[in-house]
Amino acid sequence: MAAVAPTRAEVLSLFRSLLRTARQFSDYNIREYTRRRAADAFRENRALSDAPAAAAAFVDGKKQLEVAKRQAVVYSLYAPKAKNIMEMKLQ
């Protein structure tokens, strides 16, 4: 399978989808982790210059997006009733 490097727009679109999926988590911790991990991974792989490595990273990212989407649905079934303390405004 010929590895075609993803275009810039595709990469940004994947990043945006990951961040949007992160928003759907009701748990603060998982939400923040997803955001952080996505940002770190994309930043780390920024400098990948050869096409196969970039393509592999892109496919990996897509798989993670699928995982995140599934987990968002599962977690929403068991959403906690109380707000996490980090989400409460300072009184």
């Binding site: 810039r8 727009a9 940004l12 679109s13 990043f15 945006r16 961040l19 949007r20 928003r23 940002a39 994309f42 930043r43 920024r46």
Partner: protein, 143 residues
Amino acid sequence: MAHSLAAAASFSPPAARRRPPSQVTNAISSRGLVSFNSQRMSFVSIRSRPSQLRFKICCSAKKETVDKVCMIVKSQLALPDGTTVTGESKFSELGADSLDTVEIVMGLEEEFNITVDETSAQDIATVQDAANLIEKLVLEKAA
């Protein structure tokens, strides 16, 4: 620009306001009402009104929107407190790469409770662009 719009909105046709020249001086006493008597026996009254909110739609975004955007940009890029972020600052000048820009747009989406689509997000280059887009989307949402 708001002034000229207000003037255009309150322009009264000359025929309705035609008065003989002798009575023109009596009409000038009201605050904000200015009438010019030309040679042709018809005058135009230009009323200046304080610019109302509805005239600002076609102008650039409100100041508080721009300020909020600046604040989010500063916290996202972790800029030191001394840096000035104005409407004209470009994201690239502030040290943001495209990933940072995506994160900033996400933060703005959450803050203003709007959804920015892909193509619009690509065009955002300065703080002012972002603020204008936000205003537009907020208006569309409220409508």
